[in-house]
Subunit: 225 residues, 2 copies
């Protein structure tokens, strides 16, 4: 596969963060049999301004057709390619408590090219268990597995106290992309890209909107304290 010139362009972090949202909306439209969508319709479905959407997509080289809009399938493929989703990303999950189990069997990963190929935990009660066809292994086997399975992304699903050591081990084993679900910051070498997921972020956004409604209609279920 040759280098894709699109990926070399300067696409801002803010645009990248919106691309999965665009892609999800396009997938929903495709499921409903919609083949063409105007920038105004797509922007409204995603919840961004139309000018923002057109600007984001023009960065990818997609300008749509005046008076017609964007071809849903073509645009979805294009965004997938920019996001790297037309490739295969072997993923390891470290920490096989409830969250690790949920992530290891999350149906949304596989459909986007994220293949969970390795699971790790040091709890003897978990080692050997199969989740989604993958056997949980002792954490000491991480370096060997990163090499043999060419693991590209490490997911940390441990308690907060273990997150730093796991991050360091992933980095030392050569993993360059880490998704951290543990409620703790981790420090890793600059060459490693860490994204932290806070599951309460979306609740905070919901609370903002609920609070705004409460002032308009004080019968909401929220309780002032």
């Amino acid at each position: 596969m040759s280098a894709d010139p699109i990926s070399r362009r300067d696409v801002s972090d803010a645009t990248v963060a919106r691309l999965p949202e665009y892609l999800r909306t396009l997938s929903r439209l495709a499921e409903r049999g919609v083949s063409c969508v105007s920038s105004a319709e797509l922007a409204s479905a995603v919840g961004v301004r139309s000018a923002q959407l057109r600007k984001d997509l023009s960065r990818l080289g997609s300008y749509g057709v005046r008076g017609v809009g964007y071809e849903v399938e073509t645009l979805a493929v294009e965004i997938s390619r920019v996001l790297g989703l037309t490739r295969d990303w072997p993923v390891a999950v470290v920490g096989m408590g409830n969250l690790g189990h949920a992530l290891a069997s999350y149906p949304g990963f596989a459909t986007k090219g994220f293949r969970v190929v390795a699971l790790f935990d040091d709890d003897p009660g978990l080692v050997g268990e199969q989740v989604g066809g993958v056997v949980i292994r002792p954490f000491a086997e991480l370096p060997a597995r990163v090499r043999s399975d060419r693991i590209a992304i490490g997911v940390i699903a441990t308690p907060a106290a273990a997150a730093q050591a796991v991050g360091e081990a992933l980095a030392a084993a050569g993993v360059r992309s880490i998704l951290n679900f543990a409620p703790a910051s981790i420090a890793v070498p600059a060459a490693v890209d860490v994204r932290r997921v806070d599951l309460s972020t979306e609740l905070q956004i919901l609370a903002f909107h609920a609070q705004r409604r409460t002032y308009a209609a004080p019968l909401s279920g929220a309780v002032a304290r």
Copy 2:
């Protein structure tokens, strides 16, 4: 508690989406004992442009002090108030598989005013089990519990097939804010605010950056297919 004039201002969805990020960064700074931060430092820690940060915060009425910056604690309290986090939000989780268990015991919720007060599942093997001090109850008890516990937010953690029925039941019971972790869209009355969480979104953003690095250094672990 009187209506907060800040919440009546026109704060854009994009700004609201960044506020939890600002708050998380401010909390980390406060933990480290930092009492004052410049807009440039804060913007860099969050990963937004400095002008964007100043614009967002000015919408909340926070302008900082020229040459000094923002007081970390003051700004954190202000953002918390705008987001409604200084109030109490009783939360119900529906679907107590691995993801439901993980969410019910997620440490990040309680610290932000999201109190998980009710858990539901129809699996007889789960009903009666305690998670984080809350007993799992049959789903039929939802309407009574929404009233007695004044549940403000419903979290759907069921498989895709059950999500629509659960969303309808939550809406019928009077819940006006729904966080949907199930990998399926749900249709609810317009008065109900639904946010869908796709756990693969952050993986997609990581993949974008990893792919960009791969073109620069073709020894990445990612495998073209």
